[in-house]
Every structure is written in C-alpha cells, then in structure tokens.
Amino acid sequence: MLPLIRLFALQSIALGSLAFTVAWVTGSGHIYLVAVLTVAIKGALIPWMLIYVMRQIKVEREVEPVVSIPLSLLLCGGLTVVAFYITQPIIFTGGAIDTITKNCLAISIAVVFIGFFTMISRKKAITQIMGLLTMENGLFLAAISVTYGMPLIVELGIFFDILVAVLIMGLFAFRINRTFASVDTTILRRLRD
C-alpha cells in the first residue's frame, strides 16, 4: 500500500518533469504552471492525503489480490504490448510527428491500461483509488505529449476534479472501513435489500 502510494508520487513527479520539458520546448508559459501544479498536487498533496486516510483506518497490507502477482505482471506486460501495437499506425506515420509524442503516446496508453487493470484486479478501496489516479496520469501524459498541453482552464478543471474525487473517495474508504471494519470492496456486494 505505502510503496504503491510512493510509486504514484514518483510517477507524478516524473510526469511533472515531462511537462517542464514540454513547456521548455514549446516556450508556453501556462504549461510551466501546469507542471508545478502536477508536482505539487499529484506528487505531494494527494499522496499525503491518501497516507493520512491509510493511517486513520489502520489498513493492513494488501494481501489478497484477485490475480496473483506474477500473473498480473505478465498481464501488464501484455497490456503494454497491446498499447504499443494499437498506437503503431500513429507512431510510424513518419516525419509529421515529434519525438516526445512518438515516445510518450504508447506509454500513456499503457499507463491507462495498467491503471485500469489495477482498479479491476484489486479488492481494497485504496488500491482501487490508486488505479484511478494512475489512469488519470496516463490521460494527462497523453494530453501533454500529443497536444502539448490543453488550455489552462481545462487543466485546472481536471486538477480540481481529481482533488475532489480523491477527497470523496478517501471519505468513502473511511466510511466503508467504519461500517465493515475493512476496506475490502467485495463485501459491498452483500448490500441487498
């Protein structure tokens, strides 16, 4: 759990540095702001919030994934292959495409896939939140590498969206834990009338 959150923070910081690179290449001011916000919000604030929630609900370590670790690693490798395969016609179109796009498009699709896979293959609420955030990181990477940054207002909206989403999901995790004494979401299936 804790390593997962740390890794997410590291991924976000890497994403922020990529945004810095894009800003430096394109020379547009607002992407600098986006990069700073990425590092600040995704690299520090959200991990801190999640760690706080984890401490509050005293969650034990992730024990029972639905898929075993080697199998999920292999599946993620397969998903990466798929991501590269489906972006191949876009990547190999020739000279009209920049190196940043060429390198990052397939990777961003792969990150989205892996985040989605994390969401569906784990039981604990917090791990599922991490999966969603990873997906969002992948989308952000795709946006920044293909279009060199969306308009500032869109970016700010997304940041705010994610922040509020994490808040609400943390609250949900807290409530699930208080009701069921664990954050295992499979228990929620028993909620019938």
């Binding site: 670790i69 690693l73 292999l74 490798g77 990466t80 590269f84």
Partner: protein, 311 residues
C-alpha cells in the same frame, strides 16, 4: 586465433579467483577477515587429490555428469567475448550458449535425481522451477541487444556496440541489463534465490544437487559452477556494456581491453557481494514474483527497441 584461445584460457584461469573475490568482499562487509582470494584454487586442488565416493544406487548418469557439465561450460566459454571482440563464432551464437548452459543444468538435475536421495530430488525440482522462468528472461534480454546490434553472434554484438560509441545508450540497454542481472543471480544460485555458501536444507537449490558428489567429481562440478558465473559476468560486461573491449588486435587495445574487463569483473563481483550482504534469501514461493519482474523488464526492452527504433 591465438587471441581467442588466450581469452578462453583466461576465463578458465580466472573463474575460481572471481568466486574468491566475492567471498572475500562478503567477509569484509560482514566484519570478518575471510579466507584469501586464492582459497578456491586451494579447495579445487585439495578435492582433485582426493578419491571419490559414489553411492551404490548411482548409475552411469551420475558418473558422466561432471564431465558433461564441465564440457558444456567450457564450450560456452569459447563463445563469449572477453577481452577481444572475437570468438569461435562459427561454433554458434547466443542461442547455442544459452542452451549449452541449459544442458549443464539438465545433467545436474538428472544426476541429483539419480542417487535417489530426497535432497537431490528436491534440489532438482526447485532448480527446474526457477529455470523455467529464467531461461526466457536470459534469451529475451540478450535478444534485445542482438536486435540493437542486428546480429545474434555475441562477439559481433560486443564489437558493434563498442564501436558505435556512446549513442547506443538507450532505455532498452538498461532494461535488458537489469533483467539479465536478475537472471545472473538466479542462475548462479546467488542470495535472493539461494545461498551459495551453506548446505542448509532451507536454502538448498544448487548445493542440493551437488550434495552426493565428492573428490574429483566435486572439483569438476565446482569448477563448472565458478566458470558459469564468470561467463555470465562476461556477458553482462561485454554484451550490455562493451565499451573498452578490444576491437582490433594491436597490443595496446588488448591491454586496455584486459584492464577494462578486469575492472568490470571486479565491480560486478563487488555488486554481487553487496547484494548478498544486504538482502536475505527470499522464500521459495516468492521467487516467481522477482523472476517475472525480470522477464517483464526483458520484454519491455525488446518492445522499446521496436518502438524507439534503431538509435
């Protein structure tokens, strides 16, 4: 031709020394004084002077295994570039090399089963369990470099990467090198997978298979294991990071190549010793996790080569 023979003999001569260096470094890291780095030579000599005891249940497989192992490793040593980027390439390429080592493993597992002791059977079962994942990892990680260089001959890979300068440094290189390093640790029964220095049943994978051997046969098996380690380190240093290897046969280049190779070898030995001192052995059923990580790294290396293209 002379050079190829010389570097092959160098591999054989240096093999016990590398093991000695690793043991000495481990001892120093654990605040022990440790035996001299020449101790493995003395051990081999001592074993060669002794007679062998063979179990009554052993068949001809048990007798033939040490020779098969040492032969496989020796032929494998012929295929690896060490100081000079040239080998007996007509004998085979990296696939032959991987499967020569697989042949050695096969015979070891057979011999361990042959005597009918429970430990031997356990050791060979575990060894096969691990090697089922390690083999594709090794193949894929070297294939990534073969793709970069455009050839499967190890010597040509070393030569092309070394002569192309530093612009071949790419994600593929580091991913493949990391994967191959984990595979090296697994194949040579190093610490996260197995403890090379004990005969405790908990840690026995590689040692369990040698348990029934004694005397001259044990000396051959030990020599085969040590040489295997040096072959792996040579691949690690000359296929993944071949800068400094001699590509021509003038004496100056050879001297530089020799110095660089010894430096890389000692560095890798120290890294292995550091890992052995700072990690504990993993539980057997957690090993597939690490091995799968290595496999995925090798796979990503190949993919990233295809995507990023020839650099």
């Amino acid at each position: 031709m002379i050079l190829e023979v010389a570097q092959f003999l160098l591999v054989l001569a240096i093999a016990p020394l590398v093991t000695g260096i690793i043991r000495k470094a481990k001892a120093l890291m654990q605040s022990r004084r440790g035996p001299s780095v020449l101790q493995p030579y003395r051990d081999l000599w001592k074993l060669l002077c002794k007679g062998s005891v063979v179990s009554n249940d052993a068949s001809w497989v048990f007798t033939i295994t040490p020779y098969a192992c040492i032969a496989a490793v020796t032929v494998a040593a012929l295929l690896v570039p060490v100081v000079y980027a040239g080998t007996f390439g007509f004998l085979g390429d990296l696939i032959v090399l991987i499967y020569l080592l697989a042949m050695m493993r096969f015979f070891m597992a057979l011999a361990a089963l042959d005597t009918g002791s429970a430990f031997g059977g356990m050791g060979s079962s575990r060894e096969m369990y691990i090697s089922s994942v390690v083999e594709p990892t090794m193949l894929l990680s070297i294939f990534a470099m073969a793709l970069v260089a455009g050839t499967t001959s190890l010597a040509s890979i070393a030569e092309r990467i070394a002569s192309s300068g530093l612009d071949l440094i790419s994600p593929a290189l580091f991913l493949a090198a990391a994967a191959f390093f984990i595979a090296t640790l697994a194949e040579n029964a190093r610490v996260p997978f197995d403890n090379p220095s004990t005969h405790l049943e908990l840690t026995m994978i590689h040692e369990a298979m040698l348990l029934e051997y004694s005397g001259k046969q044990l000396a051959l098996m030990e020599m085969a294991s040590m040489t295997k380690l040096v072959i792996f380190l040579a691949i690690m240093s000359n296929v993944f990071f071949p800068w400094g290897i001699a590509t021509t046969d003038d004496p100056m280049a050879i001297a530089v190549g020799l110095a660089v190779f010894l430096g890389k070898l000692i560095l890798l030995a120290l890294i292995i010793a550091l890992i052995e001192s700072s990690f504990s052995k993993m539980r057997l059923f957690r090993l597939p996790n690490l091995l799968t990580v290595a496999f995925i790294l090798a796979l990503l290396a190949v993919i990233s080569f295809y995507i990023l293209g020839v650099l």
